[in-house]
């Protein structure tokens, strides 16, 4: 029989897995590493679930764990990447799951663009893309709401420029 913790964990997983997985893809370049990070976050959520006191939304709590883990993970992984100078040419980030080739290419470009942002901007960008309110972004990232707004404008510009190269080249 499943324990209360297992039931709660499964429910959290069902509700948040896609967002957390996308966060991982925004933070690490390769699919295998994204899977490792995803697993590491799930392990941390499991380990610390007993300490969740309900003082904040469960999703905010999970994102805090996810982002903090992703930051430490990418900080630790950086030294392994020192010899790599650019994005891998084969763009082997994820397995294509749909037949829409164009969409897949655009998705890879989006991951690449997010991956090239500084870590704090990466955190904000991924939260923004999940429609997270500014207040929650500020709460998770530990910066003021006003500063979030400034960052958001810049990030939106970078993302739209990168995904509309022809418009900006003209």
């Amino acid at each position: 029989m499943k324990s209360g913790k297992e039931i709660q964990f499964e429910s959290i997983y069902r509700d948040n897995r896609d967002k957390v997985y996308r966060l991982c893809l925004g933070f690490v370049r390769e699919k295998e590493r994204a899977d490792d990070l995803f697993q590491e976050i799930l392990i941390k959520v499991w380990k610390h679930l007993d300490s969740f006191k309900g003082e904040s939304e469960i999703s905010t709590w999970i994102y805090r764990i996810a982002y903090n883990t992703a930051l430490t993970f990418s900080a630790g992984e950086k030294k392994k990447d020192e010899k790599q100078t650019g994005f891998p040419e084969n763009l082997d980030l994820i397995e294509p799951e749909n037949n829409n080739q164009e969409q897949e290419i655009r998705l890879q470009l989006l991951y690449q663009t997010i991956n090239e942002l500084p870590e704090l901007d990466r955190v904000i960008a991924t939260l923004l893309l999940e429609n997270t309110p500014y207040r929650s972004i500020a709460e998770i990232s530990g910066i003021s709401e006003n500063y979030v707004a400034v960052k958001v404008n810049r990030i939106k510009n970078v993302l739209t420029q990168k995904l509309n190269p022809q418009t900006h080249e003209n």
Binding site: R17, I43, K47, N68, Q103, L129
Partner: protein, 193 residues
């Protein structure tokens, strides 16, 4: 056609997590938790067991110096066990009120603490241990000649300090390769805020 930010959001949210074998992971986590509990119990058992064994084999009733030596060894072992627990990073994620800045600050503090333990406390540990052993040896080696006694004291002190120095250098080298880049990166992230 121009892509606006809503299109980018839709594109981003299009990606779904792959199916994950959650029950296997939970089973493994439970097993890990059990073995970690066992390890902690072994550590908790080892310290008093070693001290108890020393008290059993050493003639501490006959000499206050040996008693002092054993108490010193017991205190050193308790201190080392406490340092080992204190340097663990575990509490860092458990507080839900931690924002990113606090998390980074705490991580940096904890990682630097590991360095500090190695740099400062390991030598202190070595010196105290040599002192405790020398006190006991001073009493136990009484029947031997002066030259031999001095030789044994010196050899033991040098062995303990030499081993401590060697393991400290080894640990610091490992930290330079693993902890230092992480600390630098985390400090860089903190300075961005």
């Amino acid at each position: 056609m121009k892509t606006n930010f809503n299109d980018i959001q839709n594109l981003w949210q299009f990606k779904k997590a792959k199916s994950f074998d959650l029950s296997t992971m939970i089973d493994r986590l439970k097993q890990t938790e059990k073995s970690q509990k066992r390890e902690r119990l072994v550590i908790l058992f080892c310290t008093p067991a070693t001290v108890g064994f020393l008290f059993w084999v050493m003639p501490w009733r006959e000499s206050p110096a040996i008693l002092i030596s054993l108490i010193l060894i017991a205190l050193i072992m308790i201190w080392a066990t406490w340092l080992s627990y204190a340097s663990k990073l575990k509490p860092v994620d458990s507080t839900e009120s931690f924002d990113n800045r606090t998390y980074l600050t705490t991580q940096i503090k904890q990682l630097n603490y590991r360095y500090r333990i190695a740099q400062r406390h390991m030598y202190t540990y070595g010196v105290l241990l040599s002192l405790a052993l020398n006190i006991s040896y001073f009493v136990l080696l009484e029947p031997l000649g002066l030259g031999l006694r001095i030789g044994i004291h010196l050899a033991m002190t040098l062995s303990v300090l030499g081993f401590m120095h060697w393991s400290l250098k080894k640990r610091l080298k490992k930290y330079d390769q693993t902890l230092k880049p992480t600390i630098n990166k985390l400090e860089e992230l903190l300075s961005q805020k």
